[in-house]
């Protein structure tokens, strides 16, 4: 009971309902920054920012939250998403010396334009289609859908393997935001399983990046296209 009072007080202090929309919009805007930059260290910083924003959205957005749930969400957003995963990726980055993802398939200006269009479509979707639905918060839904689509699209145009992993994590962040859009909560066990799986997936992908770095000259995706049907070398 005391916990609930503290939580409600925190929500009031933050001006919860107004603030949460701001945080969600900021979360969407981080994707524009991701689309427009080539420095991988900046991408990792974006991951930290997204983790913190997700934590703030959880704090302000969830009305009826138990202590256990809050503790879990804090671990998930603040510790795993903002500290552990970025720290691990930073370590991989230092080890592999791949600082920039130069010359993606599409120039950065067009990337920014396309990402903005997708984000705008997300807002429009939430405004005109989803707002009529009960049990869903429209702005959560629109921004998370946009984040998922932008991440998937960025995966297809980036050249560096580590960039692909970063976009995979932003996609997972988008899915996390989507799960917050539902007024109901997923069972705790499922949430824990999801977190564990994402964490291990990132860890394994990180290990593979190290292996690829030792086997190949650089961390370009094009190195991983030797397995073909029409020609085969043992």
């Amino acid at each position: 009971m005391r916990w609930l009072c503290y939580h409600l007080l925190l929500r009031e202090c933050l001006g919860a309902n107004k603030m949460v929309n701001g945080f969600i919009i900021l979360f969407g805007l981080t994707m524009l920054y991701l689309a427009a930059t080539s420095r991988i260290i900046a991408h990792i910083r974006i991951l930290i920012a997204q983790g913190i924003l997700l934590f703030l959205i959880c704090c302000c957005g969830m009305k009826h939250i138990t202590f256990l749930n809050f503790a879990f969400l804090t671990v998930e957003t603040l510790i795993v998403k903002s500290i552990i995963i970025p720290a691990f990726l930073y370590k991989v980055l230092k080890k592999t010396h791949s600082n920039r993802d130069v010359a993606p398939n599409i120039p950065h200006f067009y990337c920014l334009f396309i990402a903005s269009t997708i984000l705008m479509a997300g807002f429009l979707l939430s405004q005109y289609y989803v707002s009529a639905m009960k049990l869903i918060s429209p702005i959560y839904f629109g921004v998370s859908a946009a984040v998922i689509i932008i991440s998937l699209w960025l995966i297809t145009i980036k050249h560096k393997i580590i960039s692909n992993v970063i976009e995979f994590i932003t996609m997972e962040n988008g899915i996390f935001l989507l799960s917050l859009s539902v007024a109901k909560e997923m069972p705790m066990l499922v949430n824990m399983g999801v977190l564990l799986d994402v964490f291990i997936a990132v860890y394994i992908l990180g290990l593979f990046i190290n292996v690829i770095n030792t086997e190949f000259k650089d961390l370009e995706v094009s190195n991983l296209s030797d397995l073909k049907d029409y020609e085969y070398n043992d």
């Binding site: 009960k134 989507l178 909560e185 997923m186 499922v190």
Partner: protein, 476 residues
């Protein structure tokens, strides 16, 4: 009983961390395979089906999947005993290999036994992560590439499946559960639009794991680069586990009266899978890749059969059993060929029967089993599906189905005949004679047993198995 299947590998893995002995780890894999098989048999006879672990149970739908997994795992474990002896790797690596096999089979068993969609999702992802090491086991550039694609594509696919689960949660309105029984119970009250969107995501997500085109890209690479016993497990059990989750999702669609939409989507993905196989199997230069494409084809057939409904459900279960056994046999035999010739290149292999008669004939008979040559059980399943298509008036689809299957049959048959028959080149004879001595009896026996079952099931299905299949069909 279910508790033992799920807890034993955890205990075994902990013991493997303490007792760092190669023989002990191999023993644990064998022991788990035997325990898994015995318990599954008992469950099949209705003994000890109560579980004290929440979220896991045996029901009408998953029993046959569990039986297939259990039997294939037992056969792979027998083969693996001989296969491990051919390794030139340090003991640590072989220990890790056995460790990861246990984790992999545990996650597949958990996926099959799970009564909750969320837990199924978590365990499907766990299968990806545990099998990544096994695919990367040979540590070549190709195996890195295959493992990377596998983890990355499947993780994205499974993440999209989670979007599907969230959308399903939205569609279920005030019903806040992911338990399958509860979802079935309230399916009629779900919002159809959100449910359809959820099914699209789940179909793509779990379909990626099942190897359905157009999200199949990881499959030929992973199956061809993994060690042969792992390829057999991937093809004969992992794909089935993902299929089972799709079957559960399909049942929700049926009960929610959105079945036409689901069927259309399944038909599209099934036929694209057949088309992709027909195109690529004809040109592939690697015989393990060819077998991988055959798995895509058979997954396509399973999904088409499920979309057809009615009697085709019975055919789907027969096909599932037949494909799992025949494909496991095919992959294990390909391991023998790789051991003999030291290459996966089709061009470099001929005169297999002259090189090693047993491997050669197992190769040919595995082909006959997989291409539905009577009395293979796959003949019965494909025959029933074609008949169902005709009875439902899908004449064009039936024509397309038979045409694509014929092209695939020709593509695989051409390779099998080229490799099995013909003369063995003189310069390879000595090397093959040396390699042949490394293939033990245990590397022929499992294939023989599995093929025998495939051909017997085509003419006689034991009453107890028939009952289980009928129960599964009722649970569809």
């Amino acid at each position: 009983m279910i508790n033992t299947i799920l807890i034993f590998p955890i205990v075994a893995c902990l013991l493997m961390l303490i007792i760092k002995n190669k023989c002990f780890t191999t023993l644990m894999v064998n022991l788990y395979a035997i325990i898994h098989f015995v318990i599954t048999l008992l469950l099949a006879f209705g003994i000890g089906s109560r579980s004290s672990i929440p979220y896991f149970a045996v029901d009408n739908t998953n029993l046959i999947f569990l039986m297939v997994l259990s039997f294939v795992f037992l056969m792979v474990a027998v083969y693996n005993n001989g296969y491990v002896k051919t390794f030139d790797f340090p003991d640590v690596k072989i220990r890790n290999y056995s460790f990861m096999i246990l984790v992999f089979v545990l996650s597949m068993t958990g996926t099959i036994l799970s009564t909750d969609l969320g837990i199924s999702w978590v365990l499907v992802e766990a299968t990806t992560l545990s099998s990544a090491y096994l695919i990367y086991f040979n540590r070549t550039k190709h195996s890195i590439e295959a493992a990377w694609k596998y983890v990355f594509i499947c993780s994205i696919g499974i993440a999209l499946a989670f979007v599907g689960i969230i959308l399903l949660n939205i569609s279920s309105g005030n019903v806040n559960t992911l338990n399958f029984a509860q979802l079935y119970k309230y399916a009629a009250t779900f919002n159809p639009n959100w449910l359809k969107a959820a099914f699209v995501f789940m179909m793509f997500g779990f379909g990626a794991k099942m190897g359905l085109a157009p999200i199949h890209f990881w499959l030929p690479d992973a199956h061809s680069e993994a060690p042969s016993p792992i390829s057999a497990l991937l093809s004969a059990t992992l794909l089935n586990s993902a299929f089972m989750v799709i079957v559960r999702a399909f049942k929700i669609m049926v009960l929610a009266d959105c079945v036409d939409y689901a069927r259309f989507m399944m038909f599209v993905m099934g036929f694209i899978s057949l088309f992709v196989t027909a195109v690529f199997v004809y040109h592939t230069r690697n015989y393990k890749r060819m077998l991988a494409y055959s798995s895509i084809e058979n997954m396509g057939i399973l999904i088409i059969g499920t979309a057809l409904g009615g009697v085709a459900y019975f055919a789907v279960i027969l096909h599932l059993i037949g494909h799992s056994l025949a494909k496991a046999s095919f992959f294990l035999t390909s391991g023998n060929i790789l051991e003999l010739f030291g290459t996966k290149r089709i061009k470099s292999i001929s005169g297999l029967i002259n090189a090693d008669g047993k491997t050669g004939w197992l190769w040919v008979i595995s082909f006959l089993a997989i291409c539905a040559f009577p009395t293979s059980v796959l003949f019965i399943s494909e025959f029933i599906m074609i008949k169902t298509m005709l009875l439902q008036g899908h004449y064009w689809l039936c024509g397309l189905f038979t045409l694509l299957l014929t092209i695939i049959l020709y593509g695989i048959g051409k390779v099998v005949i080229k490799t099995a028959f013909g003369n063995l080149s003189e310069d390879k004879k000595e090397q093959i004679c040396t390699n042949k001595s490394r293939i033990t009896f245990g590397m022929y026996f499992p294939q023989f047993v599995m093929l025998l079952i495939v051909f017997i099931l085509g003419i006689y299905i034991p009453p107890f198995l028939n009952n289980i299949i009928n129960c599964t069909v009722a649970g569809f």
